[in-house]
Structure formats: C-alpha cells, structure tokens
C-alpha cells in the first residue's frame, strides 16, 4: 500500500508534463538550442587558445554541455503546477500537506524523486544524442564512468537537500522571493553551472570547497572529463557523502520545527 502511495505521489509531475505536449516541445527546443549555443561558444573561445585552467577544448565543451543537460534534472515548471512550497505558503494551502495521511516530508521527497527521474530521462536522452553526434567526449574508461555515476547520484542527493532547505525557508519568512533567488543564484554560480569552477581564481575555488554547492555538479562533471583524476575521486566522494548526511540531518530538524509554524487562514 505504501508503495502505491509512493508511486502515485512520485508520478504527479511526470504525468503533468506528459499531458502538456506544448511544454515538452518547448523543453526539447530549448535543450537543443541551448546545447548548440553553449558548444559553439566554448569552441569559439578555444579557437585561439590551447589548454587553459587545466582544461582542453574537448573537456571544456563536454563539461559545459553536460551542465546544460544536468540542469534538466531539477528544472520542471512547478510554478505552473502551483505546487511549490512558496505558492502553498502564499495561498495558505500548505496546511493540506499536514492533513493528508502522507507526512509532508515524505510527499516532498517523493515528488522530487519523480521529478528527478523524469528529468534524468531527458538528460540521458540528450547525452546519448550528444555522444553519438560527437558533441561530448565519452568517459575515458569504464572505471571513470562508474565513479561518475556514483558521484552524480551523490550530487543529486545533495542537490535535493539544498533545494529542500530553500523550500523550508518559506516557513520562516512571509515574503522570501529575493532570498530564494539569491540562494538559487549561489547554487548555480558555486556549483559551476555558469562556468566550470576551474576557470575562476584560486580564492574562489578554495571558498567553494567549503560549501555544499560544488558537490552537486562540479565534482561529478570534473570526474567525467578527467579534471579530477580517479586517484583523487575517493576524497571528493567522501565530501559529497558528508554534505548529503549533514544536510539530511539538518533538513530533518527543520521539518520538525516547520511543523510548529504552519498557520492557516490567519492562525
């Protein structure tokens, strides 16, 4: 029975997307154009440059394209579905999360799991097409592919809890659009979405090493392209696991505190 509930909650977003063909078409077009633009930009930048910041042209292009594909893992139009925590807080409907037989934290996790699996299907499809077209390089060895897969999984675990922390922030602040935007910006910048962290100054790389964001994307992609050698991968995986555990415990604590703050219809 619990599995049935889980399945029903997890498939909400994928079903919503599958019933909106225009949105899926938009996602497809955006993904294709974004991959072409990003690959073209990095090829263009390397036109008169050799290896820079330890990255050759193929590595930089592969990193940038994989970052675009990875963005599909958590970029669904939840707002259109009116099921973001921010919207529920705004409209006072968050109280329903606490009236269901399913605990809110489990509902949130299951929805995210469904989204991430759906997004993964998009990313995997895009990756296979890019690989076949020669846009991205293949991993250098099966061992690299295996470690990358494990690192990607850990990265998604960390990412879920980073995003969950943002959602939980809504319980403490009445209007927090700006705080959310700032944290999303920090996540994108410090995880290497805008540009690989290797291009940034040393102090920036050191700073990002103390934060959880680089564990979400920069580490797995750097392992894939070989910028982090397999000999150093163990330490990086341990750091990812540390952030996963720490954020899991922290968000669990916040869920308990948040439950005491839920208000409906003014109190």
């Amino acid at each position: 029975m619990a599995v049935l509930h889980a399945w029903r909650a997890a498939r909400v977003t994928p079903l919503g997307e599958l019933h909106a063909p225009p949105r899926m078409t938009a996602v497809l077009i955006r993904l294709i154009v974004q991959v072409i633009l990003v690959a073209s930009l990095w090829h263009g930048l390397y036109a008169h440059t050799g290896t820079t910041a330890g990255l050759a042209e193929g590595q930089a292009v592969t990193y940038a394209v994989l970052a675009v594909l990875a963005s599909r893992l958590r970029e669904l139009d939840q707002y259109a579905g009116r099921d973001t925590v921010l919207q529920h807080m705004h409209f006072g409907t968050i109280v329903y999360w606490y009236l269901r037989p399913l605990p809110p934290q489990r509902y949130h996790a299951l929805r995210a799991l469904g989204e991430q699996l759906y997004g993964f299907a998009w990313a995997l499809g895009g990756y296979l097409v890019c690989l076949a077209a020669g846009v991205v390089d293949a991993p250098r060895s099966p061992a690299v592919a295996g470690v990358f897969a494990l690192s990607l999984l850990l990265g998604q675990w960390v990412l879920y809890h980073v995003m969950l922390t943002l959602d939980q922030l809504c319980f403490w602040t009445v209007r927090n659009n700006a705080a959310m935007l700032i944290l999303i910006f920090a996540q994108n910048l410090l995880s290497g979405v805008y540009a690989p962290l290797w291009f940034f100054p040393d102090w920036f790389i050191t700073l990002s090493g103390f934060l959880p964001f680089q564990a979400t994307l920069s580490v797995p992609l750097s392992i894939y392209i070989g910028r982090i050698p397999l000999s150093d991968a163990g330490g990086q995986l341990a750091i990812q696991a540390f952030w996963g555990v720490a954020l899991t415990l922290f968000t669990r604590f916040l869920w308990r505190r948040a439950a005491r703050r839920v208000i409906s219809q003014g109190g």
Binding site: P22, L45, H48, A53, A80, A178, A179, F185, F199
Partner: protein
C-alpha cells in the same frame, strides 16, 4: 497629463508597499545587484582566460556587457513588469484589469514597484563607468549621443521581446516558460562579441532572435568593429532605431492579442 499624475501616484504607493517588508526590500535590491554581478564575474573570467575575444580587446568587450546591463536595468525599471505577465494572466488579474478605466498594459506595468531595478542599475552604472574609464575611444558628443540612443534602443528591444512573449501568454499561459529562457539567453549571449560563434549561430542570434542588436552591434559601431559583424554596416548602426520599431510593433501585437483574449471561461 492626468494619466501621468495617476501613474506617478500609483508608483509612489507601490514603492511604499515594497517598503512594508524591509528585509525583502533590501534583499530585492541585493538580488538585482547580484544577478548583474554574475554577468561581470563570468565576463571577467572569460576575459582573463581567453584574451582577445573575437579580435576585440578587453576594454572594447567590456562595453558590450555595460551597454546590455544598463539597457536591461532601464527596462526592468520602466517596462519590466511585462516580463512575468504570464503569472498575472494565470492568476486571472488581466480579467480585473479589463474592467477598469485604464489601459490594461499600463495597469500591468503599474502592478508593483520593481525594487530589484535599484540593484540592477547600481551595478550597471558602475560597470559602464568602469568600461568608459578603460576605453581608449575619443568620446565625442556624437559617440555619447549614439551610446544614449543605443541604451534606449536596447531597453525598447528587450521590452519588445518580452511583450511578444506576454502576447503569447495571453493565449497560452505556459508561454511564460519562454520568457525565462529569453532572459537567460540575453544574460548569457548578449554580453560578448558574437563573432566568436559560428556564422550560422551568430545569424540565429541576429535574425532569429535579434539579441545582437541590443548591445553587440552598437558597441561594434562605437569601437570601429562595425564592418566585421557579418551584417551590413548600416543595419548594425541602425540598432537603436530597430529597438523603437520593434517596440511599436510589439505594442500593436499586444493590442491585437488583447482583443482576442478569451480568459479562463471563454
């Protein structure tokens, strides 16, 4: 004149409303600044690692993001509420606007005060001052006038693009998704010499999505790269005018789209 007075009073009230939540107000200013700083960080990183981008030196390249960011800041302040109009359409607010004795477009623009524009403009002005101080160009009255025209043209062109998305959102509320992508494209590819891209891709960002006209072409004309952009010189030079024409066209499209707006219940 009366309309202007009402618009000013509503703007003042909206500003006071934003001040109600002081922390959120300050954070909104911060987000505008931070978002712009991200463009500077990315541009600085690229300029440091890849010198001589597309045959432009770094002081010339800097003029592109400075122009784009300042035009964007003005857009956010003056006409920016059209971005995100899909949200107001989804919430049915357009139906309320239709019943009031004020043009719907004006009500849309007066819906709230864009606090983040303060941060946007602060950083953009700072970057423009930096770009002009590093520039080796002779800033004659003609060049200064062209730069001002380019900023206004860039603002109007960005407004035209988002107005077109808002027109689509009147029919398909999910079109708001395209607005977010458009913002991302403008931020990512609107700040660099597009001649680093392959000709076909540069053509797409010129004729498909006229992103090159916002800052790249005006900066090319100002810095003497106007003949190397891949389009006729007169077309690159006419960028500010294109912004005006595009915005007027988008307003006509808006008027037409609003006449065909059916709302949720048909």
């Amino acid at each position: 004149m009366n309309g202007m007075r009402i618009a000013w009073r509503i703007t003042r009230l909206n500003f006071r409303a934003q001040l109600e939540y002081r922390t959120e107000f300050l954070l909104m200013i911060a987000i505008g600044a931070i978002w712009q700083v991200s463009v500077i960080v990315f541009a600085t990183v690229l300029l440091t690692r890849f010198t001589g981008m597309g045959g432009w030196d770094s002081s010339e390249v800097l003029l592109i993001p400075a122009t784009r960011m300042l035009a964007h800041g003005l857009f956010v302040l003056v006409l920016g509420r059209v971005h995100g109009a899909g949200r107001q359409i989804q919430e049915g607010r357009i139906d309320i606007y239709l019943t009031r004795p004020m043009p719907v477009h004006r009500q849309l623009q007066l819906a709230f005060f864009p606090t983040n524009a303060i941060g946007d403009l602060t950083v953009a002005v700072g970057l423009m001052v930096g770009a002009l101080s590093r520039s080796r160009l002779d800033w004659t009255p003609g060049r200064i006038s062209y730069l001002i025209a380019a900023l206004i043209g860039g603002m109007l062109l960005e407004a035209a693009l988002f107005t077109a998305v808002a027109c689509a959102a009147l029919r398909f509320p999910a079109a708001d998704y395209w607005g977010r992508w458009l913002e991302e494209l403008l931020g990512t590819f609107g700040s660099y010499p597009l001649n680093v891209l392959p000709r076909a891709v540069g053509g797409l960002l010129t004729y498909g999505l006229p992103l090159a006209f916002v800052a790249y072409f005006p900066a090319a004309v100002l810095t003497g790269h106007g003949h190397d952009t891949g389009v006729p010189y007169w077309l690159a030079a006419a960028s500010p005018l294109l912004g005006v024409v595009a915005y007027l066209g988008s307003r006509l499209l808006w008027r037409w789209s609003l006449r065909h707006y059916a709302g949720v219940n048909g």
